[in-house]
Subunit: 459 residues, 2 copies
């Protein structure tokens, strides 16, 4: 497998994180791989990893991983969530969803299984099948261990699950360590309270015991696990807003401050970190949210869920959130967690995964163009040329979803002959504006004709 | 009909435009109607109409119209295009499409028919059936009059069609008067040349005759027609970019400058104007485009088509363009012309019209929230409350597309009992984060417990 030998050479090191090696000045194979993929200098990638502004989630027990860089220096990334839920899905289905997500361009995949079979076996199968980094949220399985009885959770339950996931090869984990007991009263004015699943569990635990968040009090132990396997933190935002009304409030930003402290604490141990973000945020607050995260978290990569820019369109939240995601990416967010059309309504099916992913590939790509990344627009230009030249097949090939583009075109004009026709059914044969090809000869003649006549020289 | 008496009282006036009356200081019934709809002071609406920053397209031969305000002071509007094409659609279908568009919230509808039956009869039926303003592009029918032979077009052909549409009750018309012969050489470096259908026709005409654009040279005659019926100009942007590469180029902005001149010329005759805009524009150029239009066109309402923020997603251009449209609306664009998933691929069907419209209602609504329009977020808040309280039916009701939201929810949990269940199939019964309801009693106790103990007074 791709990384087998790379990893073997690190055997016995107390810390095997990419950040550790980068800070030693070493260009690991993973760094070189990412540099090649992103068309960046390896030294730039190394220095960004050392600085904490770029992560390469790459568990040493995930040897078939094709390393992926997540940071402001690299292309904007997209994550897809999959996972079995208590009465739906199984191992085979989850691996199929993984393959579907990778096919449509997911840069990382999170397995959010909460039931529906042997969670460990499903996770293991997903990791073995996945060329992209796999993330998990260990709180879910920890809760399963106490049969859903939140109060019975102990730090040991959680740490056990974290260590198990790390051993299995999970590349990054959502750790909800930033929600503190003193933040809870700040949620009182909210319309939708706490909308993070993991965060909600911890809030109930803290309220029941009047004790601090165990992930916060045991953060150093998690760091110690993570550096053994090079698991990256994805610091969870338990207090992210669940609606426009709750966006950018005191609860959200109090937690963000704590996430910044935890980021720096992990960095002192050379452990990689990204920071999760909202959620539901109106457009005019997105730039401020991104800048604030950079400031509070010392520019650790930001990984946002949308955000949705309105709450009134259930059934279309891949769109409400792709708008926010495109903006977030443009302002410098490193990774966008997709949202499917089923968000708030039900478990997504294969078609929803496809639709959600394409919406997010659009957002990430538009962000790359807007940030002026070198070469970001090349594919757009190539597709536009094919469009102008009525090369329909080439146009489909260059599309984010070639099958869908072809299907829509063929709905009205299926015959092969129309693949070189100078029109489609939208405007018909006589009105296609792309037919307005003005040849340069005609334009040169026109320019000559338009030139002002020379004025007779004065005597 | 709603406007029958209002219009009767204006009989015999040489100019019946809303702008004319507004400049006389009169608050017309249309102005009052718009003020009521928009929750604005009638005097504000009147002064904005007089100033040219708000238009109320309201042909005196469209008495069943429910007047609609389009401008920066009012809510962001959405237009849907319908229309028969040469080998698809007929009168009944077009009226059905109109009704569908209105059902899903179109604020205006453009009939872009280019064939497929008796164009005059279709247009007439649409106007009679429509409570929203109807727009047309007279160039298409003018070209039909000369059997598609561009060179044979004369100014008279075009003026005849314009007058016919005006008499029929068309509320606004796209008039491609801004593309000048001297602009044509500026398109030479483009990837996709001219992508406006009307603009392409005029470009070919100008090249064939080496003469100036007849809509430009006969602009005053069009003004004279428009003021008799109160038709509003929708000044067409023939040189809008057709891809990211061509955005914001010299050709586009040369035409925009001319559109500004024409705007002010129409205003000297008290004729209402809005100005059409792109098209395909990367995110980072959208604000500049909106500001530039305001500057060049003295703040006449801007009416943009998208813009698409990437070219690589045919089949999903309702999404690529809703991102741009949301941004444009936020920056102050008055109306957004929808784009359907079939854009660039084929004629949209009913489902495409629905999807395109909802994508644009999302963009316009998100823009209203971001602009901070009073009350813009009320519906979001109400839906969020219903969501938090697991009132599924209320949540569906408040959605932009209630049927779609219900359908998606019911796909996995159709039974009636689940309409009050405290979960959906996404997270299942045990993991729904909305269940994390922390009661205020518990929070008060926590706050008391967290309070620092009073320090004993010093002796």
């Amino acid at each position: 497998m791709l990384r087998t030998e790379w990893i073997a050479r690190r055997h016995g090191h107390a810390n095997v994180s990419q950040m550790y090696y980068a800070r030693q000045g070493l260009i690991t194979e993973e760094v070189a791989y990412v540099a090649h993929r992103e068309n960046l200098e390896p030294e730039l990638v190394r220095s960004e990893v050392a600085r904490g502004r770029l992560i390469i989630p790459a568990n040493t027990n995930h040897p078939n991983l094709e390393p992926m860089g997540i940071g402001i220096a690299t292309r904007c990334k997209v994550n897809a969530n999959i996972g079995a839920s208590p009465n739906a899905s199984n191992l085979g289905e989850e691996v199929a969803k993984l393959e579907l997500a990778v096919k449509y361009g997911a840069d990382t995949v999170m397995d959010l299984s909460t039931g529906g079979g042997d969670l460990d076996a499903i996770r293991s199968a997903i990791i073995q099948a996945s060329p992209v980094p796999i993330g998990t949220v260990p709180m879910y399985q920890a809760l399963e261990a106490v049969h859903g009885n939140v109060e019975k959770l102990t730090p040991e339950h959680i740490l056990d699950v974290i260590e198990k996931h790390a051993k299995q090869g999970v590349d990054y984990m959502t750790i909800h360590a930033g929600i503190l007991i003193e933040h809870l009263p700040l949620t009182q004015g909210r319309l939708t309270g706490i909308v993070s699943r993991g965060g909600g569990i911890l809030a109930r635990w803290m309220l029941a015991h009047h004790k601090q968040n165990p992930l916060y009090t045991h953060f150093d132990e998690i760091i110690n696990i993570f550096k053994k396997y090079d698991v990256s933190f994805s610091l969870g935002d338990s207090l992210r807003p669940g609606c426009q009304h709750d966006a950018s409030d005191a609860a959200q930003f109090a937690e963000l401050k704590t996430l910044g402290e935890l980021t720096r604490r992990a960095w002192t141990h050379d452990v990689q970190v990204m920071v999760e973000g909202p959620g539901h945020v109106p457009m005019h607050q997105i730039e401020m949210n991104v800048r604030k995260q950079m400031q509070e978290c010392s520019e650790a990569p930001f990984y946002v869920l949308g955000p949705l820019v309105t709450d009134i369109a259930p059934g279309y939240d891949h769109i409400t959130s792709a708008i926010g995601a495109a903006l977030a990416g443009w302002y410098g967010t490193a990774m966008l967690c997709y949202v499917t059309p089923k968000e708030h309504l039900g478990l997504p099916n294969a078609e929803d995964v496809r639709t959600g992913l394409i919406a997010y590939k659009i957002a990430a790509h538009a962000a790359d163009i807007a940030r002026g990344r070198p070469g970001a627009r090349d594919r757009d230009d190539e597709l536009s040329r094919a469009r102008y030249n009525f090369d329909w097949n080439r146009q489909f090939e260059l599309s984010l979803d070639p099958e869908r583009a072809r299907e829509y075109h063929d709905e009205t004009l299926p015959a092969d002959i129309y693949k070189s026709a100078e029109f489609c059914s939208m405007c018909g044969p006589k009105f296609c504006p792309m037919q307005t090809k003005i040849d340069s000869q005609a334009l040169s003649e026109l320019e000559a004709a338009l030139k002002p006549q020379p004025v007779a020289a004065q005597e």
